[in-house]
Point group: C2
Chain length 92, copies 2
DNA sequence: CTCATAGTTAGACAGATGTCAAAATAAAGT
DNA sequence: ACTTTATTTTGACATCTGTCTAACTATGAG
């Protein structure tokens, strides 16, 4: 669980996941992501790998391009943990 | 936002927040926390400071003891971000 | 005032993390 | 086959993190 939160604990990765999850097609080509950040392509690749290893995104290659999509069930589980009465219900 | 996730990205801190948030009294004395972990007291102090600086917990001193409580509004906000349609709604 | 207890801060250190340039791999076009 | 484009891997490096012990601060008891 901590591993997933850790993956979200970097500004670039958090934004990457938002971009991937918000895309209308349900997936995003890496080529459309690299241009949006101030860091070089290998660094984006490094962060995508982190998100992958945390189980928050999935990827597959089609031709020369690689597409990433969110693993919504995993993201949802995080949200539930934070929303659980133990953690987030505002005191009555 | 990433700062809050980062704070949760360590197993000790995640467990600390759970313990603090789950306590029936709504707050926990540090003295009741240190014994529950395998690390020395200063390390717990270090992690509590992290949670504090991320705005996830609040603290105050009463006599010799220091009590921590969750900032549920902040935790809730994280949960909402993950639950927002962009991120976590399972595809229909 | 001194002492004991609870907690934090300071300093040191090994190991993890984020970044880049350069090299490697993958696939498609000529 | 060779080239070009897209992406990942590698190796190097500086910085950040988590941990400890030792020293410090704060409070209450005797």
């Amino acid at each position: 669980m901590a591993k997933m939160f850790k993956a979200l604990g970097d500004p670039i990765r958090l934004r990457l996941l938002s971009l991937i999850a918000a895309h209308p097609d349900g997936e995003v080509c890496v080529c459309d992501l690299t241009g949006l950040f101030d860091v070089a392509a290998p660094t984006i690749s490094y962060h995508l790998k982190h998100l992958r290893e945390a189980g928050l995104v999935d990827h597959d290659r089609r031709g020369t391009w690689v597409y990433y999509r969110p693993v919504r069930e995993r993201i949802h589980r995080l949200s539930l943990l934070l929303a659980s009465s133990d953690l987030a219900v505002p005191a009555p």
